[in-house]
């Protein structure tokens, strides 16, 4: 027996890029954040070969959860084919050997920036959201020490002040993304910059959502079947974007979150923001047989 037999063969990097201690840190903090839904857990964010602010938090979570049996999907603003999504997907596949997919139904792990897919996620799927600013109180309390006390005391009155200001100034709530939401009736979180359209999808969802901010070194989670309620005044109801009546100019899909494409004559056309859902709609229209998943919104309405 020699020392060489007892040690692993040399490798240029650990499996899945992150070393074992980094993954252990991530796992511990993920468990903590699942135990206290919506509560921000500080963690030791590592360097990954990507600039901070480009999804390093989400990438670290994905690298920790990944294994060769897990199918990965990466979205950026709803699109699977944007540069950022494509590079992250390729990187994940390269360091782990995991298969990749564009289809929401076939994915086990979905890393996303700014969107939740239109097809309903299942119990066995995990959604990882990249978060630029995890602190919902930052706009009303710049001192982070006091903000943490406010979280501890559930002192969230000032969040409504923000909404009050928007209604007074503009006649309606202007918060378009990162809409502050109460998780499990206790912690207010910012659900990363997903549009208002996507926030109700988190409420009592079957899947686990992990939100991770690499630059700010905070991780928080929405476990399955957890209440997520956007903050509203009792007499001013929550409104999603008025996209229910819009039709995708390419796929003909109707009643989903759309991207606006301005035209040279001043008008605009729309296409489905969830690009793979649009592609599937087109294929189905062209006679291909494929499974279209059940969607959260039906005819532009979210069933309660």
């Amino acid at each position: 027996m020699s020392l060489a037999n007892l040690t692993k063969p040399w490798a240029p990097m650990s499996y899945g890029f992150l070393d074992a201690s980094a993954k252990r840190e991530l796992r511990r903090k993920m468990i903590k954040s699942v135990c206290v839904p919506g509560c921000q857990m500080p963690y030791a964010s590592r360097e990954v070969p990507m600039a901070r602010g480009w999804g390093t938090g989400g990438l670290q979570v994905s690298l920790t959860l990944i294994n060769p049996q897990i199918t990965v999907k990466v979205i950026d603003q709803g699109a699977d084919d944007s540069v950022n999504a494509a590079s992250i997907r390729r990187f994940l596949a390269r360091v782990s050997g995991a298969p990749t997919t564009l289809d929401t139904l076939k994915a086990d792990l979905i890393q996303s920036r700014h969107r939740i897919p239109e097809e309903v996620l299942r119990e066995d799927q995990v959604l990882v959201l990249q978060v630029p600013n995890p602190e919902p109180l930052r706009s009303v309390q710049p001192n982070m020490s006091i903000a943490r006390q406010m979280h501890g005391d559930a002192d969230y009155g000032r969040m409504w002040l923000q909404l009050y200001e928007q209604i007074v100034r503009s006649g309606r709530v202007m918060q378009g993304a990162s809409y502050p939401s109460m998780v499990n009736g206790r912690h207010v979180m910012t659900p990363s910059p997903i549009p208002r359209w996507d926030v109700p999808k988190l409420h009592m969802a079957k899947h686990l959502t992990i939100l991770s901010a690499g630059r700010e070194k905070r991780i928080f989670a929405v476990p399955p079947f957890t209440r997520v309620e956007p903050l509203v005044f009792d007499d001013v109801p929550y409104r999603v974007e008025d996209h229910a009546g819009l039709t995708c100019s390419r796929s003909g899909a109707k009643g989903f979150f759309m991207n606006e494409i301005p035209q040279s004559d001043g008008t605009s056309t729309y296409e489905v923001s969830d690009s793979e859902y649009g592609v599937k709609s087109i294929r189905q229209r062209d006679g291909e047989t494929l499974t279209m998943g059940e969607t959260w919104y039906k005819d532009g309405e979210m069933p309660q």
Partner: protein, 265 residues
């Protein structure tokens, strides 16, 4: 026809505010030494003294922003019991939001400068748990009207307002929840004389209409004479003399009070 004379009624109400043996030192500097004070319901207590005499420190403690080294503080209100200095942060916040209003000398301390004026008042209601937009708006308007704030500037941020207006916003915020105790820390210092008179006028009217119990801290004897019923003279962290305003200003007993009154007149 006979004229019936009544013996003067003796005040039998219990004091609303009782402060006992409050001491505080910052390192070697003694800010307060065994200070005691009582304020009766509907009364205005003035606190005068030179800079550094501990009057603002005492007021901050009455607003539960600071804890003393020793001493007790009680408010005679239903549901409020025991020494308030022993309350935890959470209970303090609720009590401060609902029962105590404060107007600072520097409006930057009391207001969110870039939010709207009505929003500043609404914040107070939000902290107390009001979640209906229409009610918030209505109550904010009422409070601002009561402090004689021009309602056409309802949604202007305080940063755009004059000093006198900012003080009125602070006042509206303080009285929005009809607190049992209103604390005023040099509310008119830094305002010019005519605006000062207008703000004092508003305070006087509020006091008359709502019978709010007030504690006003000022180094300006004129302000105290206009507003207060009783006055407490402080020097180097100690109360040197206390009594009715007229009595103290007409016939000061303590050497320091004499000096103070003569310096003014």
């Amino acid at each position: 026809m006979t004229l019936t004379l009544h013996a003067p009624r003796i005040v039998k109400t219990a004091p609303l505010v009782q402060v006992h043996g409050v001491s505080k030192s910052y390192g070697p500097v003694v800010a307060l030494r065994e200070v005691a004070a009582k304020v009766y319901p509907g009364e205005v207590l003035g606190i005068v003294g030179e800079s550094g005499s501990g009057k603002s420190t005492l007021l901050r403690m009455m607003n539960l922003e600071e804890t003393p080294d020793a001493g007790s503080y009680t408010l005679d209100l239903p549901d409020v019991e025991g020494n308030l200095f022993d309350l935890n942060r959470f209970a303090r916040r609720i009590l401060c939001a609902t029962q105590i209003g404060i107007v600072y000398q520097n409006p930057h301390l009391g207001l969110l400068m870039n939010h709207s004026s009505s929003g500043n008042v609404a914040e107070r209601l939000l902290v107390a748990g009001e979640r209906r937009f229409a009610v918030l708006r209505e109550k904010a308007k009422e409070a601002l009207a009561a402090s004689e704030f021009p309602l056409e500037r309802l949604d202007a941020p305080p940063i755009e307002l004059s000093g006198g207006m900012q003080q009125r916003v602070q006042l509206a915020k303080a009285i929005a929840l009809a607190p049992a105790l209103l604390l005023l820390d040099e509310p008119t210092t830094g305002l010019d004389v005519s605006v000062q008179a207008l703000v004092l006028d508003t305070l006087k009217r509020l006091q008359r209409d709502r019978k709010i119990t007030m504690v006003i801290v000022s180094h300006d004897l004129g302000v105290i004479r206009t507003l207060a019923d009783r006055v407490m003279v402080m020097r180097r962290g100690e109360v040197v003399e206390a009594g009715l305003v007229d009595q103290i200003f007409q016939d000061p007993q303590h050497a320091y009070t004499q000096q103070l009154v003569h310096a003014k007149l």
